[in-house]
């Protein structure tokens, strides 16, 4: 009986290391990120400086944290359209509880986390129990939260933005955790960049090296089959929705303690940017394929393109046209690179 031998298999064409590397879902995104970086460096001499890097890494970092969480969810075969408004929801909760009700800020932050996790759990359980697409369920929660953000904020504080956060007791004890910045040369770098790296690393570890990661790929790639071989589908999916909600909370805190304010419409519309970043980073919309590092790189591409257009001093009437063209360019490049690596048909 034929047994596996170490001898080379005549049914395999020899491949270079390069082309084996290219198979990883994130390589395309990395190449695209480098291309975008070079592009803007050539166009604006201020882009690739410490000062410039401080700006676009900050911009990318909050997108990146969410994009990684959303990518996990997408790999697991679901969407979360309430992810954007969740950032505003968490920050408003903290803002209102502290400035209006005088609650201790640490307690308020934890309450916001608990609320976010519950919304995530509700999303997950509704999706699994009704069998309806998550697109429509989380669209419902998106609408509901959006209205709640506006109406409750207005009802309680009479206006649509939180003011006076800085004067809340213990503000300075918590601000550094989410909003700290350090000066390197002439560039200001924010702690959110560390969060971004941390989230992407943990997500990568979970995806590739834990049972939960295996289950995420499985429920996204073929839910029915996953269920049949005993993957706890409900637990995995609800966990993913809660992860996304928690990421929304984290980004909400970062934005709150970075600017010390939040508005009732914060985060509305951002959910699509997260999905864009994940897709640019190589995740499949249909689930079952993608990577956390790719999504983080997708956010980097988006952040660089977004700020780069300003650096290039182009007329911002054309902002979206440029952005669209950059995105398409990045995805095409990513796709082309991946197809070099593997031809599946």
């Amino acid at each position: 009986m034929a047994t596996a031998t170490a001898a080379p298999d005549e049914r395999l064409a020899s491949t270079s290391l390069v082309s084996r590397l290219l198979i990883r879902p994130e390589i395309g995104a990395a190449v695209a990120a480098i291309a975008v970086m070079i592009f803007f460096t050539l166009i604006s001499d201020r882009f690739f400086t410490l000062a410039g890097a401080g700006v676009w890494t900050e911009s990318a970092s909050t997108f990146g944290i969410m994009a990684v969480a959303v990518a996990l969810l997408m790999i697991g075969g679901e969407f979360d359209l309430s992810a954007g408004v969740m950032t505003g929801f968490s920050a408003l909760t903290v803002g209102i509880l502290t400035t209006n009700y005088g609650l201790n800020i640490w307690v308020a932050v934890l309450i916001a986390l608990a609320l976010a996790l519950s919304v995530g759990a509700i999303n997950g359980i509704l999706v699994m129990r009704t069998g309806l697409p998550s697109f429509i369920i989380t669209l419902g929660t998106f609408f509901i939260l959006r209205g709640v953000d506006l109406a409750v904020t207005k009802a309680i504080i009479g206006q649509v933005s939180i003011q006076g956060m800085r004067d809340v007791p213990f503000y300075d004890s918590i601000q550094p955790v989410f909003g700290h910045s350090i000066q390197i040369g002439e560039g200001t770098f924010y702690v959110s960049v560390l969060w971004w790296i941390a989230v992407a690393s943990v997500a990568t570890w979970v995806l590739l090296r834990t049972r939960a990661g295996n289950w995420i790929f499985a429920v996204g790639g073929a839910q029915q089959s996953a269920r049949q071989v005993g993957v706890p589908v409900l637990r995995t999916k609800v966990g993913l929705f809660m992860t996304t909600a928690a990421a929304g909370w984290l980004v909400g805190m970062i934005s709150l303690f970075r600017t010390s304010t939040v508005q009732a419409n914060t985060g509305v519309g951002q959910e699509f940017i997260y999905i864009i970043c994940a897709v640019v980073g190589g995740c499949l919309l249909t689930g079952g394929y993608g990577s956390a590092v790719g999504a983080a790189l997708g956010a980097l591409i988006y952040g660089m393109a977004f700020q780069g257009i300003t650096f290039a001093q182009w007329d911002t009437d054309w902002l979206f046209t440029f952005l669209g063209a950059m995105l398409l360019g990045a995805v095409f490049l990513n796709n082309w690179v991946r197809n070099r690596g593997v031809t599946t048909r």
């Binding site: 034929a2 834990t210 049972r211 499985a218 269920r227 005993g230």
Partner: protein, 289 residues
């Protein structure tokens, strides 16, 4: 003609179970039991309800009528996970694999090997790859690369992965839905050997196949389904290979087909010959009774 001979304790038992999909009655009034150290073959025409029956045993579908007992205790299996935890491993007809995932991840999906403790607990990737490669080559499947997405394997290779997995994890009951359908002669032989081995290790086996040559040698009992109903449950002692073939081919209505085939394909057609022989047998039996 009902089975009475027992080789071991009944692990799974069903009593008058049925299954409806909306207004479609796929199965009704089925009673049988799966015993340790015994191979139950489920036979029947296409669409007779065999896969539906198996899915009930495996926890993939909840039955809509009747009772299911595990180790004598009545229960409802609401997910395959529960069945797996009770030691029931299944090869589904549609294989239950995740096409985009590598072969080794599919092999261990849901029962991953880990090493390390606490937050450092992680997948034992090397161990899983090694086991996968070894189990598959024991079935005569020499994969180029266990990191290949399983969706790019050939139909038979995929089937072998599903079987190897079930055999590896099957603790008390092994359920196989047409495992040999896509397999070559050699691989089919290996699967039959596995079934025999599992039986000898004291597992209960449920085996579905359309090939009487595969069913007869390993089966201890034969349950026949027709149009969603059970036609009875026969011990091997009451059967010959020809009886079995006749039963599988639907018994009646065979004569004309056999003649037709012989006419169409000439005398060298073993299928036609087989059918003809079976038909005579059936007729003879009918005359005896």
């Amino acid at each position: 003609m009902t089975a009475s001979q027992t080789r071991g304790a009944a692990i799974l038992e069903v009593d008058q179970v049925g299954k409806r999909y909306g207004n479609i009655i796929a199965l009704s009034g089925i009673s049988t039991s799966v015993r340790a150290g015994e191979v139950t073959c489920v036979l029947g025409d296409n669409g007779a309800g065999k896969s539906t029956f198996i899915k009930i045993l495996a926890g993939a579908h909840e039955h809509s009528e009747g009772v299911l007992r595990i180790d004598g205790e009545e229960c409802r299996l609401s997910s395959p996970r529960e069945a797996l935890e009770a030691g029931v491993a299944t090869v589904y007809q549609d294989l239950a694999v995740v096409p985009l995932m590598p072969v080794w991840r599919n092999f261990f999906l849901g029962s991953e090997l880990t090493k390390g403790r606490g937050p450092l607990r992680r997948l034992d990737v090397a161990g899983m790859k090694r086991t996968t490669k070894a189990e598959l080559s024991a079935m005569g499947i020499d994969l180029r690369d266990v990191d290949q997405p399983i969706g790019t394997l050939s139909g038979g290779e995929r089937q072998c992965v599903a079987i190897a997995r079930a055999v590896y994890f099957g603790a008390r009951v092994l359920i196989l839905d047409e495992p040999t359908a896509a397999l070559g002669v050699k691989q089919s032989g290996v699967v039959l050997k596995y079934i025999a081995k599992a039986r000898d290790r004291g597992l209960g086996v449920v085996f579905i196949t359309h090939n009487p040559h595969h069913a007869y040698p390993v089966g201890d009992r034969f349950m026949l389904l027709r149009r969603g109903k059970s036609m009875g449950d026969f011990p091997k002692s009451e059967m010959t290979l020809d009886d079995l073939t006749a039963m599988m081919a639907g018994g009646a209505e065979l004569e004309s087909l056999a003649h037709e085939l012989q006419r169409e394909m000439g005398a060298d057609s073993s299928v036609a010959a087989e059918l003809a022989e079976v038909q005579q047998n059936v007729a003879a039996k009918g005359a005896r009774e």
